[in-house]
Amino acid sequence: MAKVKPRVKVPKTASAGEVITIKTLISHKMESGQRKDSDGKAIPRQIINKFTAEFNGQPVFSADIHPAVSANPYLEFTAKVSESGKFTFTWVDDDGSVYTDEQEIAVS
């Protein structure tokens, strides 16, 4: 399949204790396993089944994803930041692949 590319939007700066909004998007076809090809055979399921977000190694947010989530899964959530640091985002594919992205934030 096409290259899987994560895109994440995290504010560059924030004030301590602020609740920021994070938006993530990853290009993935999210094949549900319900569709059939032109020969009538079921196309095997291949989706991203797990997403996690960590800040400086601490879990912030995660999602268990089922086939009913649209292609190119989009997730929007919040995080409370008290110090500067790094967000790590991880997506887990049905085939075992793991896609990651990192974003720094400066907290004043």
Binding site: V19, Q34, P59, V60, A68, V69, S70, P73, T78, K80
Partner: protein
Amino acid sequence: MNINRRQALTLSAGAALFAVTGMSAGSARADAAAVDKAMMEITGGATPEEGKLTLNAPEIAENGNTVPIGVSVDSAMEGDDIVESITIFAEGNPEPSVITFNFTPMSGEATASTRMRLAKTQNVVALAKMKDGKTYMAKSEVKVTIGGCGG
């Protein structure tokens, strides 16, 4: 074994009935009962309360392939007032579960949104689980113009 006409008819009717029920079980779609069953696993049998949980879903979705949906719970996310998870279910999809959001105190707020597939016009249900074991639910009907499950 001698089978007379009447017995033969009864047998074939039974076989036909079996074939029909067997088929419908094989291609079972999620329905309200399946959603209830999945919700019971989270609530442990308790009846979820209404309110506190907000489900933002469109009234009409033109394209069932990508329906924006958002959930939020009014919570301080501190001490015992913490939302552990919010799960979204769809009553008319092949599988009832859509997504589970898991929150931590570092989430700051119990708010999340995504885009989901809807096979047809149906109820979307959200279920929030608090740290103290309480559960809240919200339900909303979404009318779908073009279904989003393909072949």
